[in-house]
Every structure is written in C-alpha cells, then in structure tokens.
C-alpha cells in the first residue's frame, strides 16, 4: 500500500504529502500508532485527513498508510446487544484492555470466529439478485437475522451449505454470474457508511410507530419510516424522552446513538435495557438494541461519523424486512463536530460558525429514513428520531431551523413543563406532526371516534392557552363558568393523560387499547360537562364527583389490560354525570 508523510498536525486535522493516489473519503492509518483517519480534502500531493482518535504526540515525518477503501461498517449476525464507538469498534472488547480508551486499538467489529446456526432457504440453481435472502440465523431469541446477498452481487447458486453451525469465514453459498465469475456469500458484508443502502422503491407511509407515550401517539404521532426531531434546552428531558421511545416504541430493532453526550447515559442504557422486558416479544429489550456511543469526551471526528455508522446498521436491518427506529442524541453535538472540523480546515463559515453545507448534511441523514420495498422484495422501515440541543433553548438557531426542513414531526420540549416536572415535557403549543392523516386512518380501524376525541382534548388544551392569558390578568374566578370548566378540564387532561411517569411500573408504557379508552372517557367527561354547564349546572357540582380522583390517577392505577377496572370506572363517571343532570332537571322543573 502507498504511504504518505505527515507535514502538519492541528488537533484532529492532519495534513500529509506524497498522497497523490489517495481517494476522497478513503480510510488511512496515521502515524506509528496507526490511528484511524479519513481523507477529507486532496490538494495537489497534500491530503487533509480527519483523525478519529486523539492526535497528541504525533510528529511531522511520521508515515500515513493508505488502505484503498472507504470508511465502512461490518454487517452480519452479532450486532444486536452490542455497544460500539463511532467507528464501530466494540467497546466491550476494548474494555478488556482497561477502563480508558487508548489509541490505535484495533478490534474487529464482529467476532468472525463465533459460530452461528445457519438455516439455508436457497438451493443450487436458484437465480439470486442483490438483497435476496439465502438463509436465516437466530441472532437473538426475538430476532431472526436474514443473511442476504450483498448489494451489487448476483448470479446462480452453484453451491450452498447444509443447515449447521458456521463461523464468519464460511462460504455459505457461492454465486456465479453471467460472466462466469464466482462470488462466495458469507455471514458478513461491508458497507460504506456515507452511502445509503439501495432499495427497490420507496413506499408511502401508512402506519403509526406506536410508542406507548400518550402525548406522542395521540397528539403528535410519528409514522413508521418517518423522521422526527426533539428540540429542547438542557434539562427539559430530551434524553429521557429518547430513552422512553427506545424502550417502548413498536420497532423490531432499535439503534441508539449517543452522539457527543454523557458517558453515564450510555451506562444507564447498558444497565437498564437488559432488565426491561419488551411488552410485545416478552424478551429483554437489549436483544433488539444496538448502541453506538461516542460520548462528548471521545474524539470529535468520530462523533461526526457516528450517525452515519448508526444509520447504516439501521438500513441493514431494514433490508431484512424489519421496522427499525434510530435515535440520535444529539444531532446538535454532531453539527458542532462538523463546525469544529470546518473551523480547523479554515472554511468560510455561514450561520453562527456552522459550515454552509450543514443543511445538506442534515438532509443526507434524515432522508435515509423511510418505508421501502427492499431489494429482496420485503417491506421495511427506518424511522429517525433526532434530538436537538439548541443553545439557550432558543429554537431559532441554525441546527433546529435546518432540521425542521427535513422532518415532519416536531416534538418541542418546554422549559416550564420540565420545571414543573411534567414529563414528557412535549409542548402541545409548539409541537406538530404532519403524519396525522396517515395515522388517523390506522387508529380509526379500532375506534371510529378517534379523531373526534383527539379534537375534543386538543381544543380544550388550545383554548386553555388563550384563557390562561386572561386569567393571569383578572384571576380565574372572574371568568364565566364555561371557561372555568375549560381550565379545569385542561388540568385533568394534563394530569391524567399527558403527563406520564416513566418510573411507574404501570404508567411507563401505555397500550393502544388503554389510550383509546382513556381518550374516550376524557372526551366524554368533557363534552358532557360542557352540556351540563350550558344547562345551568355549576363547576362545583362537577368538581365534587368523587371518582374524579380515580380518573386523575387512572394512568397508574389501572393496568394496560384490566378491562374490568376500565369499565367500572367508566360506569361510575357516567353515573355521576347523569345524576348531576337529573338534579339539574329537578331544580329546573321546580
């Protein structure tokens, strides 16, 4: 391989000469320690390299080794349940050498020696196209890993192994193309991270990605294959919300990227997820999760690449026909990495020092979400949820603003809600979801009044916002009875429905069935109370309903499938409202 010579070191940016033959975005190994780097600029014989490891101690004159390949991820069974750094080095294996991450450590992303039980589904003579499945491996109890023909490989099956145990070196099947060239297919394949994996076609989105969070599922739903952003100042609960979504959302595979955030948060996921049980598969959540950790103190260039690493893994599982959700926490840190590298390259800055290509890079990440028909003919989705950390909590900054152009679901976190420890602190004033039409269709299969009920609750909340402004001037007691009811009802919606306690065993996950029931009950309570007030009842009569307390606590007191308790509470509330109506009639007829 060709080698170059270092001529300059400036933080993570290294320049080397004698690099005429190196390609853009080629991986190189820098210095005697062979630190991993990527070529980001070529000028004459000088290549500029961003190095994914700490560069202290490098000297001009040290060699740079070219590798001839772009930065790639290794794909195959064994990814699930693993924690990687931004360039797919397995952190658990690195930890064998000590608690601190040294430099120049090279460990294979996947263990090629490990044996997997392979069940082929193709036979000699089959005509295979890229992306078609040759067989399966039970990667974890809940996930069947489909071994696929890599993109750009195709041909007739010349040989295939019988079912059995094979390691990463095994040629599971050999394909011969029209030119007579034979290509072996094994468990593992490589993919360049900065390039989206191909699919047959893109499909329109149709289903909600259920999350078990009521405020999301009911008010601001995300569709499978959609893209959402969670912006919020510090302490408003971005990470908590991301983690709740990673735990309970209805995806087969979760890729969780800790990008420039705290080390302890990744530790928390590592500690907590294996113990939590997926309500759908009944298995540990860790079995469906891949973690990518490039914490804030790890080298900044690797942070930049970590989100591409993550989404490449997500696309790989999508190609097997799975629903994949990817959480990136936080895309602002990624953008800052971009800014830092751009600054070191002395590029002309655009908004707030960010490079002019920031929106372009954001788009290339978010647009890798979607629902597709895979090359193999299956249907898979990648849903992207990106956290945004705007400086000072000000949403007008460049990263938030550019992000809103490429997502269709915006969960704005609110400082006041967070201060009152109202979690998830997703604001019903500033958030929106453009996936509502698609998801409404889906919900209506189960409850025809879903949209109407949602509107009743949403109207109360929106009306409350404007009433609060008046109430702040004159006091709530000066308002007419019907408006005071709105304030009261909004309070109940907030306490009983929107607020969700992620530490409560029952409330941490809310099933669709229970959500529908809660919405029905609240919408009924509100519309009926509005009628009663219109007919002359007082708010105090409604406030005095003894079961209001039960309604306020139903989220944690009634289990997800306890139909008896639901019916009983519903009947009691109906009866109480009926009796108020009767008393009112009696008064009126006197």
């Amino acid at each position: 391989m060709k080698t170059g010579i270092i001529i300059r070191i400036n933080g993570p940016i290294v320049e080397a000469r004698q690099m005429e033959e190196v390609g853009m975005l080629e991986v190189v190994e820098v210095g005697e320690l062979r630190l991993i780097g990527e070529v980001i600029r070529v000028r004459g014989e000088v290549a500029t390299i961003q190095v994914y490891e700490e560069t202290s101690g490098l000297r001009p004159g040290e060699p740079v080794y070219c590798t001839g390949r772009p930065l790639s991820v290794c794909l195959g069974p064994g990814l699930l349940g693993t924690i990687y750094d931004g360039i797919q080095r397995p952190l658990a294996r690195i930890a064998e050498g000590g608690a601190f991450i040294g430099r120049g450590v090279k460990k294979p992303a996947l263990d090629l020696e490990r044996k997997w039980s392979f069940q082929p589904i193709v036979k000699v003579g089959d005509e295979l196209k890229p992306g078609m499945v040759i067989g399966g491996v039970q990667e974890t109890e809940s996930v069947l890993h489909r071994v696929m023909v890599p993109p750009r490989v195709q041909g007739t099956v010349k040989s295939v192994v019988p079912p059995g145990e094979y390691d990463g070196h095994a040629e599971l099947c050999v394909l011969e193309d029209v030119a007579g060239k034979r290509t072996p297919v094994g468990f593992y394949q490589y993919w360049p991270v900065r390039q989206g994996r191909p699919s047959a076609s893109r499909l329109p989105l149709a289903q909600p990605l259920l999350t078990g969070l009521r405020v999301v599922d009911t008010f601001f739903p995300l569709a499978k294959g959609g893209a959402a952003a969670i912006p919020g100042g510090f302490g408003t609960g971005k990470t908590m919300t991301q983690q709740a979504l990673a735990k309970w959302c209805e995806a087969k595979i979760i890729v969780y990227i800790g990008c420039g955030e705290r080390g302890n948060e990744m530790t928390e996921v590592l500690r907590e997820f294996p113990e939590l049980i997926d309500p759908r598969s009944g298995r540990s959540l860790m079995e469906r999760t891949i973690l990518i950790a490039n914490t804030s103190n790890m080298p900044v260039a690797a942070r930049e690449v970590s989100i591409y690493t993550g989404i490449s893994l997500a696309e790989y599982y999508r190609d097997m026909g799975y629903d994949v959700a990817i959480m990136a926490d936080s895309t602002s840190r990624w953008a800052e990495a971009l800014r830092e590298l751009s600054g070191r390259l002395e590029e002309m800055p655009a908004d707030e020092g960010f490079p002019a290509y920031l929106p372009d890079r954001l788009a290339s990440f978010y647009e890798r979400s979607g629902r597709v028909q895979t090359l193999g003919g299956a249907e898979g989705t990648v849903s992207v949820i990106g956290a945004v950390s705007p400086p000072g909590g000000d949403f007008s900054e460049p990263v938030t603003q550019h992000t809103t152009r490429f997502i269709r679901c915006f969960w704005a976190l609110d400082r006041d809600l967070a201060n009152a420890r109202h979690y998830p602190a997703i604001s019903w004033r500033n958030s929106y979801s453009e996936y509502l039409p698609e998801t409404t269709q889906w919900w209506r299969q189960y409850d025809l009044t879903w949209k109407e009920n949602r509107d009743v609750l949403m109207n109360v909340l929106q009306e409350e916002v404007s009433l609060q402004r008046i109430a702040k001037l004159v006091g709530p007691d000066a308002l007419p009875e019907s408006q005071r009811l709105t304030l009261f009802a909004a309070e109940i919606i907030k306490n009983a429905f929107l607020q969700q306690n992620s530490f409560d065993e029952v409330d941490m996950y809310c099933s669709p069935k229970k959500q529908l029931w809660m919405m029905n009950l609240l919408a009924f309570f509100i519309t009926r109370s509005q009628e009663l007030i219109k007919n002359g009842c007082t708010l105090n009569e409604i406030r005095a309903i003894p079961d209001l307390d039960r309604m306020n606590r139903m989220k944690s007191e009634i289990k997800n499938d306890d139909v008896a308790a639901m019916t009983s509470l519903e009947q009691r509330v109906h009866a109480a409202l009926d009796s108020i109506a009767r008393e009112q009639l009696a008064r009126a007829s006197k």
């Binding site: 070191i9 202290s56 000297r59 004159g61 601190f100 705290r262 080390g263 590592l270």
Partner: protein, 472 residues
C-alpha cells in the same frame, strides 16, 4: 507519550519568529510532536512551560503557560521535552498546595512519585463505567430532598457574583457523607482566576472542619497568568483520577470558577485567529468542557469515585450565556442560586424550579432513601411551580382576590421557602428530617391536590400529625 521515538531533550531552539499574546511561533524545529511540552528560557534566565498547539515540518506554535511577558525574539530559547504536560501523582499530595501545572506552591519540595500522568487523561470507555447511584447526604434539604447528589455525579453550582456559592460548596464539602458507609471524601480543589480571599476562605473552611490534611489544592489565582488556568482543572482531575481509580478513594472535586477557565480558552482562541461561535467563545467550547466534566464517575468492578462540583458565575445572571448553557448540557443537572431569594435572606438560595439533578431518580427511593422520596420531590416541584404562577397572578389582582385554594398555595410557598429550603450554614439535616419538612409543607394543601404522591403515602404521611420535633 513518554517513550517518544525521537529524543531531543537537550536540543535548544532559538528560532522564535513571532510572539503574539500568549502564543509564540518557533521556526527551524524538527520532530516536534503535537501537544508536546516545551520549556522556554526567558532572556533573564526564567524557565516557563508551554505546549505545542499546531505543528508543521519546520515550525511550531506554542502557548506559554507563564505568559509571554519579557520574552524576546533574540534571546529566548525553547527546549522540547518529548512528552505532554504530566504531573506526579501520589497520595502524599493530599494536604499540599500546587500551582496549575502541579508545581508546589507551599514552599515544600515536589512530591515524590514514580507515577507521572498526562494531564489530558484518556476518555473512559462508557462500557467500563458503573452507573452512579449511591446517595450522598449533604445535610442540605434543597439538595438532598429536591436535587439529590449521588457519588460519581457531576453537579455544578450556577451562581452569580455576590451569591454565597462558596459558602454552599464549603458546607457540602464539610457535611457530605454516605448513609451506611463511614468513608470520608478526599477533596481535590482547583481554583482558576479567583481572588486570593476566595482561596483563603476555602483553606480556612477546610481547616475549621479539620479536613485540610485530606485536601489537595491547585491554585491559579486572579493574578497568575491566565493561560495557566487552562491546565489547572486538568492537573486537579488527573490527581483525582489517580486517587479514585488507582487508590480506591472517593474523591470530591471542587472547581471554581469555570467562567474564568472559559475566558482563558477564549483568549487563546482569539489569539490564534479562530472563527468564533457564540459571544466570541470557540466552536469547540462544548467538547473542551466535556473533556473536563466527563472526568467524573465510577468504574466497573468497585474502586473509588469522582464526584465533581464545578462552580461557575453566570455573567449578569444569564443562564443562557454559553458557559452555563453548555455546562448544563454536559453535567448531570445543576444547582442554580437565585439572587432574589438571597436578597430576601434565604440561605442557601437554591432556586426551586431551574435546579435539577439528573441522577436523582436512581439514587433515591426504596432501599436508598425512603420509598416516598421520588413522589414527594415531584409533588413539591409541581406545587412550587403553581406557587410561581399564583404569585404573578397575585401581583396583578392582589392577595385578597385570590381563591381560597390559591391562598393555600401561597401559604405553602412561604413555608416551603422559609422552612424547607432555608437552613443554617452549619445545620446538617438527615434525609428523614428533610422528608418530614417536605410533608409538613405539603400538609398545608388539601389532599386532593396531591396527585403525584400515592394513596398509601398520603395515608401514612399526610394524615400523620406534624411531629414538631424537626429542628428549624
């Protein structure tokens, strides 16, 4: 780093071509490493240390920790030392005073040690971390009850000029203990750009509580060269890591004042002509702060811990200023001090709503403090947030016009601030006492307002009579 391939100790260069602020540009050098330590001999024979910031085949850009005062192009010599800045580490450093680069400042000889550590440290593998969840009782209700500190956490104090952050930090250092272990914290104290009086206050305070032998101090005061401040917290944290992970000690690191540190960083960045981001701070301020704050925590398989309490003063009390803002994004919560509360005579003036401890949820509750603790805290936050709304309403329509329930909230707010938050500087409350005070305040409110505590907890604590035995 120490086993450098090229040994050029002894080789002195004289090719200083530019001196600009804290930076010096040397030409005609060879084999210099990025981040290498440089020893500079000033024309008058003074020795100063510096660090390589940018290096090409024949030139190096060096930042001089001691400042470039009195250096000249002609008579300044530079020697490259072949390694990055390292400090000696040993347990004997407790009880001593050092400057920002780890050199003795107390007139005693340098500590004897075979262990020399690179002050920049290495990132901890997230896989090797142990999640922090051991409750630290600070004896301060506003922290223990509402914003619990756990061992291995990084929890900064956001303050303003003139607020009692130093007294609070000293009180925490004095009172912090674990409930069921009798281990004393070793304290590593780093001061950047603070006045001599402030450093003196901490020395006196440690002395009074008899822990001075257990404290290592790294002082880079207001009149010391500002570039040295860049290294002060790094030196301190390097020793802390040695004490925690090599010697198994539990270390509390107090760092004051992070705002001065960030200003030093800005000074260097400006001198280098870097493109500034917000308020002139460099774009990598976040990464740089993270490389300090992330050096807190615990490791798998036991051993010690590093609990960090950085103090920063928010310029004109603005929490959205880049320094507190970026800090808040990295640290695991923040204790915010409130000027208005302090003016009303409340000590400690811990602002109820913006303060937060992110690790609290796993450090409290059943088997740790008391099962009702998370709910009581959540309920107090919810109620206190309501108090804030009602107070602004009362400011418009007057107290008399408030509804009866709002009046109760006002009363709750009074009681919460004057009895729960406020306490004496030398008052050490147990967590039981703090919880009791919390319930005493909640008892002012009607039962059906308290939706965040469970029915059983209401039966057990709300219905109980106030004990009246809690110390005020």
């Amino acid at each position: 780093m120490t086993d450098s391939p090229i040994n050029h100790s002894g080789l002195q260069y004289t090719g200083v071509s530019n001196i600009d602020g804290p930076l010096m540009f040397i030409q005609g050098v060879s084999g210099v490493a990025y981040n290498e330590l440089v020893e500079v001999t000033a024309p008058n024979g003074d020795l100063r240390l510096g660090q390589v910031l940018d290096v090409t085949t024949d030139a190096a850009l060096v930042q001089i920790f001691g400042g470039t005062n009195a250096l000249s192009k002609a008579h300044t010599k530079a020697r490259f030392l072949g390694h990055s800045l390292e400090i000696p580490c040993s347990v004997e450093m407790l009880g001593r005073v050092f400057d920002g680069l780890g050199r003795p400042k107390d007139g005693l000889p340098p500590p004897l040690s075979r262990e020399y550590r690179n002050v920049n440290g290495e990132p901890v593998n997230p896989y090797s971390r142990e999640y922090p969840r051991d409750f630290i009782q600070t004896g301060i209700s506003s922290i223990d009850l509402m914003n619990t500190l756990v061992r291995g956490q990084k929890l900064p104090i956001f303050s303003g000029n003139g607020l009692p952050h130093n007294r609070l930090a000293a009180q925490i250092a004095r009172q912090a203990k674990l409930l069921n272990e009798d281990v004393q914290f070793a304290i590593v104290f780093a001061a950047m750009g603070v006045k001599y009086d402030v450093a003196r206050f901490f020395v006196d305070s440690f002395e009074q509580s008899g822990v001075l032998r257990n404290v290592a101090m790294f002082l880079s005061l207001a009149d010391d060269p500002s570039v040295e401040r860049m290294m002060t917290p790094r030196s301190a944290l390097t020793l802390a890591e040695y004490l925690a992970y090599d010697c198994g000690m539990h270390v509390l690191v107090l760092i004051t004042d992070m705002t001065n540190y960030c200003e030093a960083l800005r000074e260097i960045a400006t001198a280098r002509g870097e493109i500034p981001s917000r308020k002139g701070y460099p774009g990598y301020l976040y990464s740089d702060l993270a490389s300090l704050y992330e050096r807190a925590g615990r490791l798998r398989g036991g051993g010690g811990s590093i609990t960090q309490m950085p103090i920063l003063t928010m310029p004109s009390d603005d929490i959205s200023h880049p320094v507190p803002d970026l800090t808040g994004y990295i640290t695991e919560g923040q204790i915010v001090l409130d000027r208005e509360m302090y003016q009303r005579g409340i000590y400690p003036p811990v602002a109820g709503l913006p303060s937060l401890s992110r690790l609290m949820k796993d450090g409290i509750g059943k088997d740790r403090t008391r099962p009702d603790h998370p709910h009581v805290a959540s309920q107090l936050f919810a109620a206190y947030s309501k108090v804030k709304d009602i107070r602004s309403l009362a400011a418009v329509i007057g107290n008399e016009e408030l509804s009866p329930i709002d009046k109760l909230y006002m009363k709750f707010g009074e009681m919460f601030e004057s009895r729960v938050i406020a306490q004496g500087e030398f008052e050490d409350r147990t967590i039981e006492q703090s919880l009791q005070l919390g319930w005493d305040a909640l008892r002012i409110l009607p039962r059906n307002e308290l939706l965040r505590v469970s029915e059983e907890e209401l039966n057990q604590y709300y219905s109980a009579l106030p004990t009246g035995t809690v110390s005020a």
